[in-house]
């Protein structure tokens, strides 16, 4: 099969997929195409879009490929959408950050890190499907465990949760980051709050679990007022 034909097939498949299409699936649907070749096709399509000045590009998000408009056209597309553009409060972003790096994590742990009640903000994040409940921690009271959802990866444009910068990388980027004091997540955990945590977040939630939950619902809710103050 001609490569140009494969390119077109890849483009058609990505365009018509209702959700990010995984590399394996893309490759399996293109005649005589291995996953590595499929990825090369995507790269070539993206290069072509740039060359031709198209208004979209292919992203790798939530374990698959998806066509998305370029940020330069955001204001126009926003105006065309029935929902208001996504807004998240500082409280929501901080809570998401804690969950993203500590998952699966209990509400008490989130509250300890942020120093404030997390009930309202957690509910709002659950409603927007950015966060999901990942079971219970098997300690007295069996508190709920929270983890990021597939939607989280989609919204923040992450192929997988591991693509978030490590806390170490962030600390190195920060102008006055205390990089040497607490270089890793684990040392922060063990050094700071051992007595209040009901056990280290060792529940083995694997990478697949982070993307297992598919939902296509609208995430454009109003910021619930007073979720943090």
């Amino acid at each position: 099969m001609e490569r140009s034909e494969q390119l077109s097939i890849a483009e058609a498949l990505i365009l018509a997929s209702p959700e990010p299409i995984p590399l394996q699936r893309l490759a399996s649907l293109i005649p005589s195409c291995k996953p590595a070749a499929a990825r090369a096709l995507v790269d070539e399509l993206n290069a072509e879009y740039v060359m031709r000045g198209r208004a979209f590009e292919i992203w790798e998000v939530a374990g698959g490929f998806q066509l998305r408009t370029l940020p330069a056209f955001a204001s126009y597309v926003q105006a065309s959408q029935p929902e208001r553009p996504l807004r998240l409060s500082q409280a929501a972003l901080e809570t998401l950050s804690v969950i993203a790096y500590r998952q699966p994590v209990t509400r008490a742990e989130i509250e300890y890190v942020r120093g404030v009640d997390a009930d309202a903000v957690l509910r709002s994040l659950l409603e927007r499907h950015l966060v999901r409940i990942a079971g219970h921690r098997e300690v007295p009271g069996r508190p709920l465990l929270y983890a990021t959802s597939r939607r989280f990866l989609e919204v923040f444009g992450l192929a997988r949760i591991e693509d978030l910068p490590t806390l170490r990388e962030l600390a190195e980027l920060a102008p006055e980051g205390p990089a040497s004091a607490h270089p890793t997540l684990d040392s922060v955990v063990s050094g700071s709050d051992a007595e209040e945590r009901s056990g280290h977040a060792a529940d083995e939630d694997d990478a697949e679990a982070w993307v297992e939950e598919a939902d296509g619902e609208s995430f454009d809710d109003e910021d619930p007022s007073g979720e943090s103050h």
Partner: protein, 280 residues
């Protein structure tokens, strides 16, 4: 392009000096006691790892007073932190007790410092998330509507009236125009009678093909009045829930194949006769 709200971004002057209302409103917008403490540490230009507890806790309490003067609720967590600061301050005044086995308790600020460092880091992560290109704010996905879930091909769906009418039309076409010259004659066919015929046929067999019912028992082509009466009879029986109408589906979930009539599970066959007599 809108940016996310940062209600808690404390970038104003020292809160202790900020009893003027333009600043003061912002004070209520700290994300929490840790956020306020980080702010105080920054404006005092001191190290997190070496907090001048007396000074910081004084300013902290002054800030809470400002919030209270504005008649805003001071959340419990702010008060809890005030108590923690007071406790640390008192511990700092005491000589180390030496009773702590691992010696980590030597600096009473240690836990607070660790929490502040950790919180600062997550604030940084939040900032990183805020700057990403968000779906639904900065970028938008191509929207392909998902296909209906594919049903198993052997599953049967209850056929709608449209399918019935379509099948009826096909039978009429198959019946074709009458070969003989048209003769006007009165046929004594009633819907009620056809209902009985259909139900009788369903008593003999659990399932009948729809087109089969429309033909007479001798499999000869009946007249149009009989067709119509039978069709109406089937609709009426369906309405009475005496029978159910089914059709198979193709692999994409669309209706496919012959339409079948099945007796409903219900009262015995004799009851139908009565019901039919009652209704018609």
């Amino acid at each position: 392009m809108s940016t996310p709200a940062f209600p808690g971004e404390p970038d104003s002057g020292p809160p202790a000096d900020a009893s003027g209302s333009p600043y003061a409103v912002k004070l209520a917008l700290f994300e929490g006691p840790l956020d306020l403490l980080l702010h105080l540490i920054r404006v005092n230009e001191v190290e997190i790892t070496d907090i001048p507890i007396a000074r910081i806790s004084e300013q902290y309490l002054a800030t809470l007073e400002v919030i209270r003067d504005l008649d805003l609720d001071v959340a419990g967590e702010f008060l809890l932190m005030a108590a923690t600061l007071a406790w640390i301050k008192s511990r700092m005044l005491l000589p180390p007790d030496g009773l702590d086995p691992d010696g980590e308790g030597s600096d009473p600020r240690a836990e607070l410092v660790a929490r502040l460092l950790e919180y600062q880091r997550f604030k940084q992560v939040a900032g990183e998330l805020a700057e990403r290109r968000w779906l639904g704010r900065d970028v938008f996905e191509a929207h392909a509507a998902p296909l209906e879930p594919r049903p198993q091909s052997e599953r049967e769906v209850e056929a709608g009236v449209f399918e019935l009418i379509e099948a009826y039309r096909r039978v009429l076409v198959r019946a074709g125009p009458s070969a003989t010259p048209h003769e006007v004659e009165v046929e004594t066919v009633t819907v009620r009678e056809r209902m009985r015929v259909v139900m009788k046929a369903l008593e003999l067999r659990p399932s009948l093909e729809f087109t089969e019912c429309l033909f007479t028992s001798e499999r000869e082509l009946p007249s149009r009045p009989i067709f119509i009466a039978t069709f109406l009879a089937i609709l009426e029986l369906s309405r009475l829930a005496a029978l159910r109408i089914y059709q198979g589906v193709d692999e994409r979930g669309g209706p496919q194949g012959p339409i079948h009539l099945r007796r409903s599970d219900g009262p015995g066959s004799g009851a139908w006769g009565e019901q039919i007599a009652e209704v018609m």
